[in-house]
C-alpha cells in the first residue's frame, strides 16, 4: 500500500501500532463523525466561538428559579 506524506506524518505523531484491519475499522467509525462535525462547524461556528465560553454558558443558563 502506498503511503501519502500525510499518512506518514500521522503515523509519526501517533505511534500506535494499528494493523490494517484496526486502522480500517477505526477509519470507518471516525470518517462519518468527522464529516458530520465538519459540516456542522461550517454551518454553526462564528469567529468568536471558543471552547472556554462553555463553562460561562452553564453559569448563564443555570436554573435560579
Amino acid at each position: 500500500m502506498s503511503k501519502s506524506l500525510l499518512d506518514q506524518i500521522a503515523a509519526e505523531l501517533q505511534a500506535v501500532p494499528l494493523s490494517e484491519a484496526d486502522a480500517a475499522r477505526a477509519a470507518a467509525l471516525a470518517g462519518p463523525t468527522n464529516r458530520t462535525v465538519r459540516e456542522a462547524a461550517d454551518a454553526w461556528l462564528r469567529f468568536e466561538d471558543e471552547p472556554a465560553v462553555y463553562l460561562a454558558c452553564l453559569r448563564d443558563q443555570a436554573d435560579d428559579r
Binding site: R25, R38, A40, A41, P51
Partner: protein
C-alpha cells in the same frame, strides 16, 4: 432489626436509624458484608471487599455516637463505590488489566467527603473496563450481572454499583457518567441515579474517561437517598479547578412540595425513535402519574440530537485516545477488543475537529435550552429505549448486531453529557420479562434540586423504587 429488615431500609432511613440508636453501624456493616459474601460472587459485583477496615470504621462510628460526638448525614452507613475512585494505599484497577496493580497515593475528593460525613466503605465495585461500556462488559474479570435476572446485563459502566445497590448489599454507591454510565445501571437495575451538571461535583482523584464529559454522581434506591449523597459530595474543590463555586443547596430539605404545577416537556422527535412498544406504554403511564400529581405535560422541540451524539462521540474518543495512547502503543493486547475499538477512532480526528466540537458546545447548549427547556421545568425522556439486553445479546453473535444493541442503549443518554445538563433516572415499572424500565428527567444547568423534587414527588405516588429483586429478599 434482623438482616433483611436492616438492608431493606433506604440510605437516609439507615443513617437516621443509626443516629437515633435504633441500629448500630457495626450491625449494618456486618449485614452488608454478609450479603456481599453471599450475593457478591453470584452477581460478580465486587472488585474488592474490605471487611476488616469496614468493621474498624463501623466500630469507630458507633464509639463516636456513644461519646455524643456530632454525627454526619451518613454516619455509620456502609457504602461501596465504582473501582475508579482513588483511595490512597488501595488497588484501584478501573476494571482493567493495565491498572490491576495500580495503588494511588491520594484519595478522591468525593471519597474524602463521604468519610467526613461518616460513611463506612466496605469495598470497591466492579465496572466495565476503563468505564467503556454501556452494558458493563468486562472481558478480563467477567461481566457483572443483573440482580433481577443474572442472565441479563446490569448496565454500565457503573455495573457493580447498580448490581450491589439493587441487591441490597449496600445502601448507595458513587459512579461516573460520561455517556450514561450512571443512568444505564440505574435504569436496568430499578434504581435512582443522578448525573449532576458538569462541574457540580469534583472529579479530583477519579480515573478519567473523557474530562470534558465525565460526571460523578450517586446511585441509590430513591430520590431522597440521592439527595443526601449529592449534598455531601457536591461543591467547589481546590483540587479540581473546573468544579463550580455555586453554593450547594440543601437538596433533601428541598424535596417537599410535590409535583403540582411542575411543567414537563416531552420531545416530539428523536427520543422515541427506538423505544420499544412495551417501554413506551410504561413511559406513558409515568406521564399519566405525573399529570395526576398536578404536573402539566406539553410537547417540545429538541435540536438535532444525532449531531449532538456525533459531537459527544468525537470528544469522548479523542480524550480517551489521549489518555490511553501510551498504553495503546505498549500494551494493546491488554485491552479487550470491544474496548480498544472504541478508543482507536480518537487517534484519527484532526485537532481542528476536536476544537470545533468543543467550540460548538456553548451555542448548541443554548439552542437546546431555548428550544426544549424554555417553557418547561424538566424534560421527560426514556432512559434506555429497549428492554434490558441479555449478556448473550451484548457479547456473542454477529459484531454488527452486538454493536447495534450497545449503540441503542446510549441513544437517549449520551447527548446529555455533551450538553452538560443534569439528569436523573427514575424507575417506572417492569417489562414482560420482569426487568426494570425507567424514564429520565433532564433540566437546566444546576437544576438538581428541581429534578430530585420531581422524582421524589413521583416516588410518593408509585412504589417501583421500593421493589427489590427476589434474590435480595
Amino acid at each position: 432489626m434482623n438482616e433483611s429488615e436492616m438492608m431493606s431500609l433506604g440510605l437516609a432511613e439507615a443513617a437516621d436509624a443509626v443516629a437515633r440508636g435504633e441500629v448500630t453501624s457495626v450491625e449494618l456493616t456486618q449485614a452488608a458484608i454478609a450479603r456481599a459474601r453471599k450475593l457478591g460472587p453470584k452477581l460478580n459485583c465486587f472488585a474488592a471487599l474490605d471487611a476488616t477496615d469496614a468493621l474498624r470504621e463501623a466500630e469507630k462510628a458507633d464509639g463516636e455516637r456513644r461519646d455524643g460526638k456530632a454525627c454526619g448525614p451518613l454516619h455509620g452507613v456502609p457504602l461501596a463505590h465504582k473501582d475508579l475512585f482513588y483511595r490512597g494505599g488501595k488497588i484501584v484497577a478501573c476494571g482493567s488489566k493495565i491498572r490491576k496493580d495500580f495503588v494511588p497515593e491520594t484519595t478522591a475528593a468525593v471519597l474524602e467527603r463521604l468519610s467526613a460525613a461518616g460513611a463506612v466503605n466496605i469495598g470497591a465495585l466492579h465496572m466495565a473496563e476503563f468505564a467503556f461500556s454501556p452494558t458493563g462488559f468486562n472481558e478480563h474479570y467477567g461481566h457483572a450481572r443483573n440482580p433481577w435476572n443474572p442472565e441479563h446485563v446490569p448496565g454500565g459502566s457503573s455495573s457493580g454499583s447498580g448490581a450491589a445497590v439493587a441487591a441490597r448489599i449496600v445502601f448507595g454507591s458513587l459512579g461516573t457518567d460520561t455517556g450514561g454510565s450512571l443512568r444505564h445501571p440505574a435504569s436496568m437495575c430499578g434504581l435512582t441515579g443522578l448525573k449532576p451538571t458538569l462541574t457540580r461535583v469534583s472529579r479530583a482523584g477519579v480515573m478519567p474517561l473523557s474530562h470534558s464529559l465525565d460526571c460523578v454522581g450517586p446511585l441509590a434506591r430513591s430520590a431522597r437517598d440521592c439527595a443526601r449523597l449529592l449534598e455531601v459530595i457536591a461543591g467547589a474543590d481546590r483540587a479540581d479547578a473546573t468544579s463550580s463555586a455555586r453554593p450547594v443547596p440543601h437538596y433533601e430539605a428541598l424535596l417537599a412540595g410535590g409535583g403540582r404545577g411542575l411543567r414537563v416537556g416531552v420531545p416530539r422527535s428523536y427520543y422515541y425513535e427506538m423505544v420499544s412498544a412495551e417501554i413506551k406504554k410504561l413511559l406513558d403511564e409515568s406521564l399519566e402519574a405525573l399529570r395526576a400529581m398536578g404536573a402539566r405535560v406539553t410537547l417540545v422541540e429538541v435540536p438535532d440530537m444525532n449531531l449532538v451524539n456525533s459531537l459527544a462521540h468525537l470528544i469522548m474518543s479523542v480524550e480517551a485516545a489521549t489518555i490511553h495512547r501510551k498504553w495503546l502503543e505498549t500494551r494493546r493486547e491488554d485491552y479487550a477488543e470491544q474496548v480498544r475499538s472504541r478508543i482507536e477512532p480518537g487517534l484519527l480526528y484532526p485537532a481542528t475537529r476536536y476544537c470545533e466540537a468543543l467550540a460548538m458546545r456553548a451555542p448548541i447548549t443554548r439552542e437546546f435550552i431555548d428550544l426544549a427547556l424554555k417553557d418547561v421545568d424538566v424534560l421527560h425522556l426514556p432512559a434506555v429505549p429497549i428492554p434490558v439486553p441479555s449478556i448473550e445479546e451484548t457479547t456473542r453473535g454477529h459484531p454488527v448486531d452486538v454493536a447495534r444493541v450497545i449503540g441503542t442503549v446510549g441513544h437517549c443518554t449520551r447527548g446529555i453529557n455533551y450538553l452538560g445538563l443534569p439528569s436523573i433516572s427514575v424507575p417506572a415499572g417492569f417489562d414482560a420479562k420482569g426487568l426494570p424500565v425507567a424514564f429520565q428527567l433532564v433540566g437546566r444547568p444546576f437544576s438538581e434540586a428541581k429534578l430530585l423534587r420531581a422524582a421524589h414527588a413521583y416516588q410518593q405516588v408509585t412504589d417501583w423504587h421500593r421493589r427489590s429483586p427476589p434474590m435480595a429478599s
